[in-house]
Every structure is written in C-alpha cells, then in structure tokens.
Symmetry: C2
C-alpha cells in the first residue's frame, strides 16, 4: 500500500448522506486525519464559496477543487484568490446562444447562485440535457446533469485534472493521494489518485474502478476506509 500523504474527498453522497447532511463520523474522521498531519482536500461540483464554508467549518487544509474542476483554491479567501480554469466569457456566449435557440416549450431558469459560479453556467433541470447538447453541438463545451442542475462547462476540465494541479501546489505526488467518492462524476477524480476508494452507496462503475469498496455508505464508509488504510485498524 502506497504511503498516503493527502486524503481527497468528494462531498455530496460521500461525506454527506443523500440529503446533503454532513456526516458527523466524516467530520470526526477528517479532523483526526488533519491532526495526524495529512491534509484533506475537498473535490466537488459545488462552488468555491460554498465549499469554503465547509473547509472552514470542518477544518480542512488541503484546499478545494470546485465546480467539477472549474475552480481551485489552496487557502481560500485569506491568501489566494480562487483560480478559474475556464474561459467564462465563452461559456456565457454559449449560454446566450442556447437561450436564443431554444423552442418556446423549453424554459431556462438560471440557478439563484449563478453570481457565485466562476467557470460555468448552471440552470435548473427543466429539460433533458440532451436537448441542450444538441443545440450546443458545435460549441466547445460540456453539458452535464449534476442531479441538482444542468451545467454548461469547459469541455477540457474535470475533477481529476484540476486535482493534479492542486497536488502540485501541495507538493504531493497524486500517487500518494487516497481519494474517496460515490458517483459517476468521480470517475475522472479517482483516475488521478493512487488509492481509489468507493463508498458502499457508490455507483457500480465507480465500484469497478475502486481498489477498495467500503462495506459502509457515505461518511461511515469514509471512516471505515481511513481507519483501515491510514490508521491501520
């Protein structure tokens, strides 16, 4: 087993339950890992400022990969600005094109926190993502469905690629990172870490990729994997 020098965690469905409630066992586990000298990184589809609230409240020091790789920060708002990996103006143009080319029966409603999104445009799931992909087929964008919203993002970005950039800043080899996730959009993420863990509630294709599938779901699974592989219990 490779030496674990950082722990990278997806948020929704991994350190939270399906209702997005934070697992108390996950909080305790993260604090135990941080106190042992191993930084914890949060890797998520959420915005930078939303995730910053969690880094501060839980106490993680490894930084954040947010907006599914579209943004990244090491410290948050004290020292560094958030780095944006997208041509936001281009994404905005694609969004305007989409609005002009939708038929009347399809209504777009932009998410209420769009003003906080730095690398993407997100709107409520009022239609199937395929309709949007068809309209934007000649644009260099990716359209994905997070379950919460539909997102137009830079097609060259994902959680894993941006995590590698954060690992460089942390001076940690991605091979020494243990990553834990639960869903389809964690496939790229786990691809880029050395130790790949899926919680018990993970999608089947993530379980297939994992080195270890937890017996327990969500935050209890995080605690299980950390006790097993970091504290060797």
């Amino acid at each position: 087993m490779k030496k674990i020098k950082a722990l990278a965690l997806d948020i929704d469905g991994t350190i939270t339950d399906s209702q997005r409630l934070l697992s108390i066992n996950a909080i305790k586990t993260i604090r135990k890992v941080e106190n042992s000298g191993i930084p914890v990184i949060l890797v998520t589809g959420n915005t930078a400022v939303y995730t910053y609230a969690l880094t501060t409240s839980i106490g993680t020091t490894g930084g954040v990969v947010g907006e599914n790789g579209g943004v990244m920060f090491k410290e948050g708002y004290k020292n560094n600005e958030t780095i944006v990996f997208a041509d936001k103006k281009y994404i905005d143009k694609a969004y305007n094109y989409l609005k002009e080319n939708l038929t009347k029966e399809h209504q777009l409603k932009i998410v209420d926190d769009q003003y906080c999104r730095l690398s993407e445009v997100a709107f409520y799931r009022t239609m199937n993502a395929d309709i949007i992909r068809e309209i934007l087929k000649d644009w260099n964008v990716k359209v994905y469905d997070s379950g919460f919203a539909l997102h137009i993002t830079d097609q060259n970005i994902n959680k894993g690629i941006t995590l590698e950039k954060l690992a460089k800043i942390l001076k940690i080899n991605p091979d020494n990172i243990m990553g834990i996730g639960d869903s389809e959009n964690d496939l790229d993420f786990l691809d880029h870490v050395g130790i790949k863990i899926a919680v018990a509630n993970a999608s089947s294709n993530l379980k297939e990729k994992a080195d270890y599938v937890c017996k327990k779901p969500n935050g209890d699974g995080v605690m299980e994997a950390v006790e097993k592989f970091i504290f060797n219990d």
Copy 2:
C-alpha cells in the same frame, strides 16, 4: 418561560469555536431541535451562499439572516431568491468615494469573495475603522469591524430588524424565538427575540442583556441552553 417556536443561532463563536470550527454538539443539538418540529434560523455576518452551505450541511429549515441583516432567505436557492435589504449601488458609491479620499499610506484590499456580497462592501482590516468612519461621516452608511474584515453597510439594517422580517414569513412571533449569541453584534439580535441566551464565552455586555448565561462556551453552551429550555432537562 414563553413557548419556544423557533431557535435562532449566531454562527461564529456560538455554534463554532473561535477558529470557526463547527461544534459537533451544536450540530447534534440543531438536528434534535429540527426533528422535534422547531425550525432553526441562522443569524450571521457571513454571506448568503456561505451560510446556505451550513443550512444544507447541518439541516436547518428556519432560513437565514446574513450579512448582519443585509440579506435574508427562507429556503435558499431552490424556491426563493435571496432578499437584499440595502441600496447596494449607494454602498458602492460610498466605497468609491472612500477609495478616492484615502491618503497614500492607507491601502484598501477588497475581500476575495466580494462578488458574493449582496448588501455591503467588505475589505481586509488594513486600517482602523475610525479612519473610514471619518472619511464617510456625511454618508448614510455604517462601518463596522467584524474581526475578519471591515464592512460598509446600510445604516438602517441589523440582525434583529431582519430577523423580525423572517419571523413574519415563518408566521412566528419573535417573542417565541429563543436566540443565542456571543458577541457585540448580537446585541441587536437578542433585542428582538423573546428568550435571550448568551454562551459562556460571550462579551460582557451581551451577558448583561441575556435572560440566561450558559455555564459552557460555544456549541456546548448551545446544547446546554436547548436541553434546559426546549427539552427541559
């Protein structure tokens, strides 16, 4: 003792410790209160989107008073937009005037999440707030020092006034709200609730105002007050 129909909690220093780490006892207490049918309201100087991360992760349903009363939401981003109680354009003008009238030795650095602030302008504490108050003495603004940043805000707004507006939406009489806080900027907040609680680490003038001062600090104090006055232990 009046019947408690909602619990209103300050965040920093009340449900967190002085390093802004969320208290696990506070999370457990909040969830117990919510499960008993009593909504929990977060009352804070933080932004709407930062606080939304906490309402979602902890599981509060009473809504949020944010930016020290400058913003308010009941549900967050699913159903309602955040309501802003300030003339932001006027605040921006005051900020521009400040920038033009500062002497060279005083440098302003706007906070990195200013793009998420809807009712105020905040900048890092690179100078004494009194210098700013002097320059802006003819403007209808309030300048306060949150310990984290300096804020230019609407002078007619505070946590308590906005909490009353949220109470109206919740159809709860403020007299039936138990409020818990720790600092100077919770004075207005406790003024507007029926049951006023100060945690053990609270400032002395807040303790003087309180109906009850907890023996324990921060989240442990929240648990103590809730067990005593809501669950009558």
